[in-house]
Symmetry: C2
Subunit: 351 residues, 2 copies
């Protein structure tokens, strides 16, 4: 089908126009379109503009604004919010400001969220807290029931992803965004869609053997290994349960118990200046990063990265070179644009 090279500002405007044309508030349309294009810039194509058609049709059908939310509980350090089905990307973006405000007054600021739609890419959020001079975290107890606990192939946990950010001296914050499975579901889906075998070490069957065929992932007969794999998977399994035990009950979403599973979000801001000077903080973490990244790379390895640096390299490159969009995705965006009366911008032909 080919690839189309599109500049990020064109994608941003087009996504915004499509979302705005569904009738949602313009601020919300801006937040969601920026989120998707920023994910693409960071290299996370699985969280990019291929969501535009699905998001837009869902928005057109029904849309709940952040104003509909209900505060379930609140004190100086925390607020727990039932989103009543609000847009997830808008909800988490708004929650960042609430968490920062709480932390400014109380050192720790916690926002618990439940009942919101898809929240997109976790790693997008904590850096915004870090830009306010704080440590930021966004953890989700959820993400699709496919993790096998250590010692089993049955699906009992979700990837339970966490994202973390801390301020740097210059440029974008340090940023860690990871699941407690060996790989995220999106990477497995990508392999299957491309017809490639799953690498050994990703998925096991009931005998505990690695499965390289994607069929069992799709029909749910295989389980994705926790971080650490067959040898050290008790660690990934333990971390996954820690995420559940923190995020599920404290957000009032509850923990997973199969299909009855809760799906909550924890936004946490930690006010660095309550602990130490921000300059001292930054000096320490930059010193750490210099020391760690000065390690000699193994043969075939380009360099040792600090968390977030690979995403920033990709962003700088894609800002200049544009972003490769599969022609199928471009066509699907074209269809939804046409449904909503939005003109497609002229971009070069696919190659």
């Amino acid at each position: 089908m080919g690839i189309r090279l599109v500049q990020q500002d064109i994608l941003r405007q087009l996504s915004f126009d499509i979302f705005a044309a569904t009738g949602i508030p313009e601020d919300d349309a801006r937040i969601v379109s920026d989120h998707l294009v920023n994910s693409l810039l960071a290299g996370h194509d699985s969280h990019g503009v291929w969501f535009v058609p699905g998001y837009a049709r869902a928005m057109k059908k029904a849309y709940v604004t952040w104003d509909e939310r209900q505060v379930v509980r609140e004190n100086a350090s925390l607020v727990i919010i039932d989103g009543k089905g609000a847009n997830g990307i808008v909800a988490v973006t708004r929650a960042l400001d609430l968490a920062v405000e709480k932390a400014r007054n109380s050192t720790f600021g916690f926002v618990g969220l439940r009942n919101v739609s898809h929240i997109g890419r976790l790693g997008d959020y904590p850096p915004r807290i870090a830009r306010d001079g704080m440590i930021g975290m966004v953890w989700l107890n959820g993400g699709g029931l496919f993790m096998a606990p250590h010692g089993s192939a049955d699906r009992r946990l979700r990837p339970e992803p966490i994202a973390f950010a801390a301020p740097r001296r210059e440029g974008p914050p340090f940023m860690l965004d990871m699941t407690m499975t060996v790989v995220a579901g999106g990477k497995i889906e990508q392999k299957i869609v491309r017809g490639e075998p799953l690498p050994e070490g990703w998925v096991i069957d009931q005998e505990g053997n690695y499965v390289t065929d994607g069929e069992g992932y799709r029909d749910q007969s295989t389980g994705v290994l926790p971080l650490g794999g067959l040898q050290f998977g008790h660690k990934g399994h333990g971390l996954a349960m820690m995420v559940e035990m923190l995020v599920g009950p404290l957000s009032h979403a509850g923990c997973t118990k199969g299909n009855r599973g809760g799906n909550g979000i924890m936004v946490l801001a930690i006010d660095i200046e309550s602990f130490t000077d921000l300059d001292t903080y930054v000096e320490e973490v930059e010193g750490l990063a210099s020391w760690v990244c000065s390690a000699r790379p193994l043969p075939g390895v380009n360099k040792v990265y600090a968390p977030g640096e690979i995403e920033e390299e990709t962003r700088q490159r894609r800002l200049v070179e544009g972003i490769e969009i599969p022609e199928a995705t471009w066509q699907q965006i074209g269809e939804v644009a046409s449904e909503l009366g939005v003109a497609l911008p002229a971009v070069e032909s696919p190659y």
Copy 2:
């Protein structure tokens, strides 16, 4: 050399008598002896009574009490303490109460600690916070410079261990205690001492090959892989840097930069009842554990455990059967007892 089977109460009394005979406060002697014997009961022999001779001789030579500590910074949610070289096990034990007290009033209670001696087994501490109806964490940015960052074999990070606990309906709390390396240093040392090869997947050389000979671990020419190993080690590496960025600067110990590395401790208590009813919390996490642990075990696997359950099984067994102490350790404890005028209790001969 053989093994001696010793009952836990005898070990507890003997360790206490030895520490008390060094002249340290009786409360402190009790805290340290209980800590070591409780680690043995939990099955963590690497953190058990083999520390008694070294600890006792160090106490005899010089001992700093918790009273010597200096509060560096304090607000409603946090206190940062310079231990001035205080005993680490006593310091962290005291810090638990401070964290709980802060959390009772402010939802989150943080104690940062630096300049304390060896803190023993991390997993001993958070369950004490959980017994007060809170979520407990104790994280350490430290533990010996042997982790290679992802893509390198150079030693640039420490195991950066974390411990976490949450209350259960009955019995001891859920408890996770793990390093961000594939294995803890103690497990590598045990293999080397026994003359066993290191399993593949633990340690690599500068070519990125697994090394099964322990020599390179001792002479520091090899690096221990981060959790995730060669394939997914960016996750363990990222988690390790997250621990450093949280614990180092916030405890005022600083981050590691090689030998100039800081070594700090974070004690965090989160007051569950600020978020939700404790009963609701416990119902959720017990429901999670039932669901996860009902997964069918793989061939050769006994059962799927929740964090802390293996330790509790070992504790129940050792309370009844006694604890196996290597004769060499028993002899060394005998020597230090004799130096301090403490009578060795009669226990059965080694077998």
